[in-house]
């Protein structure tokens, strides 16, 4: 898509150093936002381009291109945040939005405040090898066709294949009334394959996906044929599955397959906005032993190339590595600007938003459990009767009660210390604080999991997760077998 400039006021030279809007226009907008008072104002500018291509039922159904750009402006007056956004990046458009945000914050006192910005600064995001925009569309489409062929030739029982390619370039700029002016460019590339296998037992599905905050060079190290064969294998395996058991039992989670367990069991409960409203079971528990002493949980937005990484968060704060639980002790929560300010502390680089149309809030980045000392095979061998989950699916948590649920997309029975039959899909449920204390083995085989989209208050953001093999001594498996 051609770059829009002129009337839109956007200056897109494709250079990493260039901001989206010039400092003068941003300062003018902030001044308007603060014209009738307020403690804080911010302009968040975003220009996002995306490409997606879908192959389904043996054909390339469509190639789709998207462009979204605009600015979100917030003004904080007392306890109230006023927010407005606009797709019109002209001076008039920005001023209108700034006035709307200011009016929304219902500023009481008067007084004009001039805002001066320090001038363009700040690092830009990850090292980008090959910009997806520079790659011919035909090459992207060819990947889909390869994946389709590989999945179909993997096994005669594969009856349907769909594959999706996606890339996005998200350029952001943050300017605020404290003089901050910074920006980032985030490139993400994604590929997934979903298969259906048909057999005497009906239909089964298998899916594999990969996504990183890198450019098209992703495919130098990811073989889509291999990804497709694994998705096909997962569906085929499940054709021979038995009903999942029902009731409480030990659950072993495989390497890379269980990050969502921590994302749900405690990650959300460590977000400062929920903690501040006492809507988390972990509120007021800093410094306490909340997990087995072998548990150390990290949220790290700096993990280069991972799905949830970035140079700055959506409030302009550099990404950080934050230790949430260290040797079983709750060390800190995750923070955005608003919550950190109320506590009189620094943020933690966890202020994120789906787009310029949304207010930022506390969000995870890449959340992972550090590896331990146990041997993965011995963990299984030491489990009499239970379930081994190679891949967890999505999950959900009620942070106030700690009750969580997540799906098993590939799992097996453990009988007498050995993996036996694959089991049908189902949910696992548990309670966060109880599950953290019930982790009785952690192996050293750490691996990152699949790319995820975390939803909170209707906003989705990309997140990563990872775990080594681990065992929870007791979770409820929601199957149908006695």
């Amino acid at each position: 898509m051609a770059d829009g400039n002129g009337s839109s006021g956007i200056a897109d030279t494709g250079s990493l150093e260039t901001g989206l809007l010039d400092a003068g226009l941003l300062a003018d907008t902030l001044s308007v936002a603060m014209a009738t008072g307020g403690e804080f104002a911010e302009v968040f500018v975003e220009d996002r381009r995306s490409t997606s291509a879908v192959l389904d039922d043996g054909r390339i159904e469509e190639l789709s291109s998207g462009r979204d750009r605009g600015a979100g402006i917030r003004v904080v007056v007392g306890e109230t945040t006023g927010f407005a956004h606009t797709a019109d990046l002209s001076q008039a458009g920005l001023r209108n939005a700034a006035e709307a945000a200011s009016a929304a914050a219902r500023s009481g006192g008067g007084g004009v405040r001039e805002v001066t910005l320090d001038g363009p600064s700040g690092p830009s995001s990850a090292v980008i090898g090959v910009l997806p925009a520079d790659v011919p569309k035909a090459r992207k489409v060819a990947l889909l066709e390869r994946a389709d062929a590989a999945a179909r030739s993997a096994d005669g029982a594969i009856s349907q294949v769909s594959a999706r390619y996606g890339d996005s370039q998200r350029r952001i700029q943050v300017a605020n009334s404290e003089g901050l002016l910074t920006g980032d460019r985030q490139i993400r590339t994604f590929f997934s394959v979903s298969c259906v296998a048909s057999g005497d037992t009906g239909l089964q599905t298998g899916r594999e996906s990969v996504g990183h905050t890198v450019g098209f060079e992703l495919f130098d190290r990811v073989d889509v044929d291999d990804l497709a064969r694994r998705a096909a294998g997962r569906a085929i395996t499940k054709l021979g599955s038995v009903p999942a058991p029902s009731g409480e039992m030990p659950v072993v989670v495989g390497p890379g397959g269980g990050g969502v367990l921590f994302h749900e069991a405690c990650g959300h409960g460590l977000e400062a906005d929920l903690v501040a409203k006492s809507a988390s079971v972990f509120a007021g528990r800093r410094g306490e032993m909340v997990a087995t002493p072998t548990v150390s949980l990290i949220d790290d937005g700096t993990m280069a190339g991972e799905w949830g990484c970035f140079a700055i968060d959506d409030e302009g704060r550099p990404a950080q590595r934050n230790v949430l639980i260290e040797d079983g002790v709750l060390t800190d929560y995750m923070w955005d600007r608003l919550r950190a300010r109320k506590e009189g502390r620094e943020g933690s680089g966890n202020g994120r938003r789906q787009s310029y149309r949304h207010l930022p809030m506390v969000r995870m980045t890449n959340t992972y459990l550090e590896g331990g000392l146990d041997d993965p095979e011995e963990i299984v061998a030491g489990t009499d009767h239970g379930v081994y989950v190679a891949q967890l699916g999505g999950g959900q948590v009620n942070t106030a009660t700690g009750d969580f649920v997540f799906g098993m997309t590939e799992a097996y029975l453990i009988e007498d210390g050995r993996l036996t039959a694959p089991i049908r899909e189902g949910n696992l449920i548990g309670n966060g604080p109880e599950a953290l204390l019930a982790i009785d083995a952690i192996a050293g085989d750490f691996a990152m999991g699949s790319p995820g989209t975390c939803g909170k208050d209707g906003q989705g953001v990309p997140v990563g997760d990872g775990t080594p093999t681990l065992r929870v001594s007791r979770l409820t498996v929601g199957g149908t077998a006695a």
Binding site: G6, S159, V196, K277, G479
Partner: protein, 453 residues
């Protein structure tokens, strides 16, 4: 944005302008939308945030020689329209040719007059919206002494207009308003915390009932206090309307032409078969103005219509958009679903079950040993609409000797979609539209697996 009008006529003019740029041999479909939203959040007697938002967008589909390309933009600036059309055109050559790929043709089905727009909402002052959010927070907090906090109390509304134009002659516009109140309460007793939500929906602020939303949040949060984890076993399960609507949404999702044609529906070869209890009649009717998701035209600009999916347990129909209909040798059921940022998919919009003649209390009175499920979690992760596997986290009340007994939580219910439909033994008389694409009603299943301790 100067020179554009955000009403339907203005949006249609933009769509027509794009369609008029079609080259010979090219079919174009343009979808143009405008939306204005307000959101007010109250917390501890103050306004936590107030958002006023306005969005516009366009999606353009170009079809040439049986191949389609698509592009969208979140703006209606004149230069963006040209860019989007150019990009959609450029994307055409990468698609695989398919004889059924085309934009919809007018089908002569009259568009229902649904009256989904209320000028009263547009005229409603912001101060009154703010006052309503504050009142909701206050009422929720004071509804019960065990309420320890209100995590969120929100007023939200939207006014949207859209237009679809095609080179085949479709010209469709729609506009609607909607508003809601929602509260999320925290209840505490003996060191235990439970949560619950309440809501009220309408087309204009006058439809909203603050007291009911607050009372519902308080009731839902306090009713789980003192709950225990039940024993595992196979017992009768009653789904309340809130839960059954979610279940219905999943079932109806498997009855779409695209899933069937692509071998992803467990009901693919079952048209005309008895797939459910004879009690079950399932209808998708977006022309019912009482439905939250009612709409007179679909994502391709065709009139929506009443479609009977299951009648007396017999599978009658799959829903289609124009492409899946052509592939199936039938006509569209007006079931194209999409936003401006995607091509038309297929789906139901407003499904409901024909109600029975007994009240929920009468149904419970007939159950000796069972559970009433009032909330579910993890439906997106525990239900596979292709295989039919069904497993969900749940909370609710035990039923003993025909009476509601202790609250229970942290258990799952599991079965398969296929089996649940035939295990349906009774339907309540309490059909009600909820904020989703389905109506809820009390449903009783003979026996499902409950996993707890």
């Amino acid at each position: 944005m100067t020179g554009t009008r955000d009403d339907e006529a203005g949006l249609l003019a933009i769509a027509e302008r794009v369609v008029a740029m079609a080259a010979p041999g090219e079919a174009i479909e343009a979808v143009v939308v405008h939306e204005r939203e307000t959101e007010v959040r109250a917390y501890e007697g103050e306004i936590e945030s107030l958002t006023s938002a306005e969005s516009r967008g366009i999606g353009v589909r170009v079809v040439r020689d049986g191949r389609q390309g698509f592009a969208y933009a979140g703006t209606l600036d004149a230069d963006a329209l040209i860019e989007v059309l150019g990009e959609a055109r450029d994307n055409v050559e990468f698609a695989t040719p398919d004889e059924h790929c085309a934009v919809a043709e007018p089908d002569g089905v009259p568009v229902a007059d649904l009256d989904l727009y209320r000028s009263a909402l547009v005229a409603h002052p912001t101060e009154a919206k703010v006052a309503m959010a504050l009142e909701l927070e206050r009422l929720t907090r004071s509804a019960d002494p065990r309420i320890s906090g209100v995590e969120s109390a929100e007023y939200g509304d939207s006014t949207s207009a859209s237009a679809v134009a095609t080179t085949t002659g479709i010209r469709a516009t729609s506009r609607e308003t909607g508003c809601f109140l929602s509260a999320y309460a925290l209840a505490e007793q003996d060191g235990e915390t439970q949560t619950g939500f309440g809501f009220s929906l309408g087309r204009e602020p006058g439809d909203l009932d603050v007291a009911t939303a607050a009372a519902q949040a308080a009731e839902r949060s306090t009713r789980m206090l003192g709950s225990v984890k039940p024993a595992s076993g196979r017992i009768a399960v009653v789904l309340d309307p809130w839960v059954s609507a979610q279940f219905l949404g999943i079932v109806a999702g498997t009855l779409n032409g695209e899933s069937v044609q692509k071998g992803r529906s467990l009901f693919a070869d079952r048209l005309g078969d008895e797939v459910a209890s004879p009690l079950l009649t399932l209808v998708d009717d977006p022309t019912d103005p009482a439905a939250t998701s009612a709409t007179a035209t679909d994502g391709e600009g065709l009139a929506t219509r009443r479609n009977v999916l299951v009648s007396g347990g017999r599978l009658e129909r799959f829903v289609h958009n124009s492409e899946t209909a052509r592939r199936a040798g039938t006509t569209s059921t007006g079931s194209a679903v999409r936003g401006y940022s995607s091509t038309p998919g297929v789906g139901v919009r407003a499904v409901s079950i024909r109600g029975g003649d007994r009240t929920p209390a009468e149904l419970v009175a007939g159950i000796d040993d069972g559970v009433l499920v009032q909330g579910v979690s993890g439906l997106h992760s525990g239900v596979n609409p292709v295989s039919g596997d069904f497993s969900t986290g749940a909370e609710g009340l035990r039923i003993r000797g025909g009476e509601l007994a202790e609250p229970i939580r942290e258990f799952t219910i599991a079965s398969t979609i296929q089996k649940m439909l035939t295990d349906l033994v009774a339907i309540g008389d309490d059909v009600q539209w909820l904020p989703m694409r389905a109506a809820g009603v009390t449903l009783v299943f003979g026996e499902l697996t409950v996993s707890g301790v």
